[in-house]
Subunit: 391 residues, 4 copies
Amino acid sequence: MIEGQTSGTKTPKLRYGMVGGGQGAFIGGVHRKAVAMDGKAEIVCGAFSQSYDNTLATGDTVGLPRERLYRTFEDMIQTEAGRPDRPDFISVVTPNSTHYAAAKLALDHGFAVVCEKPLATSSSDAADLARLVREKDILFCVTYAYSGYPMVKHIRDIIARGELGEIRFVNGEYPQEWLATKLEETGQKQAAWRTDPKLAGASNCVGDIGSHIEFMVGHMTGLVIESLCARLDRFGPGRPLDDNATVMVNFKGGATGVYWSSQVAPGHDNALRLRIYGTKGAVEWFQETPNTARVSFLDRPIGFLSRGRDPMSPRAQSLSRLPSGHPEGYFEGFANIYSTFITALAKKLRGEALTADDLDFPGVEEGVQGVKYIEKCVESSAKGAIWVGME
Amino acid sequence: MIEGQTSGTKTPKLRYGMVGGGQGAFIGGVHRKAVAMDGKAEIVCGAFSQSYDNTLATGDTVGLPRERLYRTFEDMIQTEAGRPDRPDFISVVTPNSTHYAAAKLALDHGFAVVCEKPLATSSSDAADLARLVREKDILFCVTYAYSGYPMVKHIRDIIARGELGEIRFVNGEYPQEWLATKLEETGQKQAAWRTDPKLAGASNCVGDIGSHIEFMVGHMTGLVIESLCARLDRFGPGRPLDDNATVMVNFKGGATGVYWSSQVAPGHDNALRLRIYGTKGAVEWFQETPNTARVSFLDRPIGFLSRGRDPMSPRAQSLSRLPSGHPEGYFEGFANIYSTFITALAKKLRGEALTADDLDFPGVEEGVQGVKYIEKCVESSAKGAIWVGME
Amino acid sequence: MIEGQTSGTKTPKLRYGMVGGGQGAFIGGVHRKAVAMDGKAEIVCGAFSQSYDNTLATGDTVGLPRERLYRTFEDMIQTEAGRPDRPDFISVVTPNSTHYAAAKLALDHGFAVVCEKPLATSSSDAADLARLVREKDILFCVTYAYSGYPMVKHIRDIIARGELGEIRFVNGEYPQEWLATKLEETGQKQAAWRTDPKLAGASNCVGDIGSHIEFMVGHMTGLVIESLCARLDRFGPGRPLDDNATVMVNFKGGATGVYWSSQVAPGHDNALRLRIYGTKGAVEWFQETPNTARVSFLDRPIGFLSRGRDPMSPRAQSLSRLPSGHPEGYFEGFANIYSTFITALAKKLRGEALTADDLDFPGVEEGVQGVKYIEKCVESSAKGAIWVGME
Amino acid sequence: MIEGQTSGTKTPKLRYGMVGGGQGAFIGGVHRKAVAMDGKAEIVCGAFSQSYDNTLATGDTVGLPRERLYRTFEDMIQTEAGRPDRPDFISVVTPNSTHYAAAKLALDHGFAVVCEKPLATSSSDAADLARLVREKDILFCVTYAYSGYPMVKHIRDIIARGELGEIRFVNGEYPQEWLATKLEETGQKQAAWRTDPKLAGASNCVGDIGSHIEFMVGHMTGLVIESLCARLDRFGPGRPLDDNATVMVNFKGGATGVYWSSQVAPGHDNALRLRIYGTKGAVEWFQETPNTARVSFLDRPIGFLSRGRDPMSPRAQSLSRLPSGHPEGYFEGFANIYSTFITALAKKLRGEALTADDLDFPGVEEGVQGVKYIEKCVESSAKGAIWVGME
């Protein structure tokens, strides 16, 4: 057990409410379990589904009293805002099309917000949220989940220290196989909303998984996309949205990259793989084995870093709960994002100043950037896969 | 989110107390976090350390009131036994030499028990605990943690279905590197007690990690060791206990195997690897990438099973919390053992009958067998690595 | 030993001459050793270098008499053409800029030709060679070496049988690290000519390694590129030619792909990796472990094919020299190309008809296509990475 | 092309004859192709099979005139000994039971010898050959093929330099699957002789593949076995010889090891894997990917050595024919043994002194040791898997 990573804390637990995440959904349960792991906050209210029956059933399972289960998120946010034991933050885990409205209402009522990515379905909506966050000085977290892995932070830190030299090229990919057949026609809920423009927005594949590449590369390298050229494919017969996407990116300063995401690639589950090449060395990280990384320097043998075995940057170490060789997984990475956010929020509520490490979770600005990236990919592809600028 | 794996439950949470697991220890915190993940029980009292200051500090972090923090486990068990809100079970996570006394006292006072492995430092003590468990009809769990991984259950189930044919040979290994130097002389607490016969018992390497091989092979294959020939090495200069061990085993029915464990093998973290060879096929599982398994049949290409992607046995599926490609790790495996145990205990407390799946956690009999295995290895080695029967 | 793959043959050996391949070169020695392995032809003359001293030294090592060592390839081809024991074919293994002239002169004198890739430095030159080959009905082989691996043929054959369904997407990559620093400034001969437009032609990275991706994908899938969008980077300061290249390709019929090649990617040697995704399954092949392939079908576990262990297509099997588990490498793959070419040439010389399997080596048409691909990549990139058609 | 590794040589080729290696055999063809690759010797005569028809057919394929094809090896050796163009050495590639007689006769007639392993079927026969070799001062090579890989030599050299510290433990294994069913009953020639005591000697599995582990560990580490405890299993119903073997070994000086070999392990081809653990570091080498090695030091990340990429010891470098990333395989390793032997023999014939590197091929003493190892394994197992000394 790493010091400071304990299963409880003497600080009073924060309270949170949840919008979305009813039975049949996927990510809502992940959020709840990730919070529970560290015990720094407890759920107190929910509007889990457009089906009130689902909300009630979910609330029962979660252990909430009926009076804090709501038919709509509007009802929940407005009602809870008036309670003396009102939540400290609201988690928004609905399909994409509801992110904006729910997050905005929560901000309007002064709640801190944790929101699933993509932040919104238009960059103007996203920018509106960012404006509100700035004006009201509220903490806002966008759950780009993979940034919570300790090894990701370690890689970010060794790049920042210049160990790889100047970054020249990035190869990011995220293939999946689950939509190789038209799963959305079988009633599978996850497939249905992601392939429906009304719920997912203008993109399926880039919005759902391509945006993870965009965020992760920026997070780990600090590189900023200047322009891009995107080809969005729709291989599933009759699909209105993309299920495969190739994007060439030019970064400010001269580095380049290529991002490939796919939901129709047999043999892949959540195969997010990031390879970053600098003048002195390179690093490769694979989400499915997140405790390790391949590092290559020109002047020594290829190496495999192991979380815990090899010295980690202080920030990475602080997010590690187990010694080397005992794998940490997706929940632990997710929990790190929540744990950082909740700790920061608690400090803010106590009036303490926040450090850079306190704020080391994906924020609203990254969320805005992510939405703009999706829009630009869609725009580029629609115009024949031409180059478009990001500003 | 897999149906049925939710972050809470409407059933009232069970209560538990903990012996051991203070600050500086490793496994106690894992136990607490594993329980917290599923929210089916909450900690209510503790005697975390022989240092009362440590117990108080740990209790603060965990969030326990001072009146339920105790100087000794005897005090805790006796006092708590009389409370109306007494714990439903006691978790024993001390160094090996205290397992017996703490578990026995808990059983004597009618508590269900979760105990770290090895169950005791002598087979007579272990047998005594088993006798008590039978006489008092109490649930008892020994935390052979690796048996909680869904893929382990799936492998067990495909072997039971005969898919590999008749098992001929088993190769089990568990190398580590952490004691390649004399870490125990640096004040590292984990190293110090494991290499001290007074705290660890008659074996370090076999007791700590070799016993995992023994349990896991039995659990996955059903094979029973008939005789063994063990060579225990002490490579660390001056070490009183083994830090490397090779064991040839003969199973009842004609299968054979070899088990190697080591704490002085550079390049390995917790590299428990089990390879099981049958007449029709074979399987390989590696603890550090627990979501996958290599399967080999004579009549088709080598395959790699992926948890979630490939159809799993119902029991394995029920222990899986995430879709394929999102790695589950050590905490989730550990949580599965607790979740199964707590669910069974709750059913028992409600007077319901328990099924085989309800009881699918390592029990006291496996614990007894494990202690006997350690003893026989020590005996064989001491006599010159001769064959001894397991009777 | 697979039947039919013997170290000699009762058929009289063919004779060949070589242009290029002197000491300090790389690929010429590979050609000679690949021919020697199967003993179907023997070298009889050479113009190995622009340095006559080098030619003499190389000729000594190879064991050629001085009168068959020539100062220029023109001298060699013209002189040897008049000998009664003239070579049956000429191997051209010079830097790119000489391929055309040497191959053309050989064809003009009626020699069959084996030529390194790329076939020429302009598509008009390449087309001219193809015209000559057709007019004179001469056998011509372009040594795209990686197509000689048995597993490559097997993959081609399972794709042709439709086992992967309809191909949707191809991801091809070939990263290397050797030019991450400016090796060409150290006098390293391989680096010097490849980065010099006068010797390499209009492209370094695409010409040298990107063209392998282009050929291999076409060879294995039968897909034909309709248009492409290429971004060629020059990361080495002051380099006149590309050392990193990303190419989006659209195939006729709707499939798409992305090709990345790099010589500045730390951590990679000759990491040619091809991933081909169809509607029913996918396959991945990696040049550095050429005896295996990863195959994925939606309805079964991920599989790893092993050359020799798993049933291979007849053509693949015929190119395999060893049982499974004994690795075959680059020489053996190369030897397969020569062995096929020489066997076909011997049959042709005997007046026998040639089958499709006889002609299963890369020919002049593939060479022409390869040169056109390089030209179109250069053109696309020069115009700002816009889409250009291949015809 | 590495300097000095050329496809020919101006030195006159040596001549050799072959005993065994007819059509349907495996290893004879490997020997011939390995010699051909470097062109330093040529085959001039053969007694390839007990079937004269087979010898004639093989001789035709190899390209030998009929007068140098013999009905028996006795006839060949006696006749050829009298020719002015007699062979410089004889290669013995028969089943085990003929090694001694053929090698002895060749030595008696003054021929240098290359002999397959195991050297003989009894240690007294083996010792007799060693005596003859010493008395007559003749070069003798036993083809433990895997010692020819460059990476094996490199590992040997880094161990000799003390980079791993003092060796503590060795884990060697060589599992195969090919005899999981009773292949010998199908007429498969390789299986038939290996499982027949009359042709294979007292052991199948240890003799055929276990002996590779024994030799390779000694070759790479210099460790000498002091005593061993072997359990030989016969899993194939009715098999007279072992098809699976586990051997615990104690080395002189205190290191220990365990060797496992199997022919009934589904999922393995020629999976020779050697792991060597020292006080400061460890190394792992796997025959199926022979160009790389895993190296682990306590004070740095796990590394993967790549032949050619990473600096190699001079001897290892001299045996490498290709740059990094172009895989060398089994033939190249085999060719290195022949190339070293032939070069040494040519020097000896010219009266030059031989260096340690000249003699860096497995010799008759290693062959004797190998036979003794097999005998001791059989003896230990027959007595109930007790410890026996190697004296």
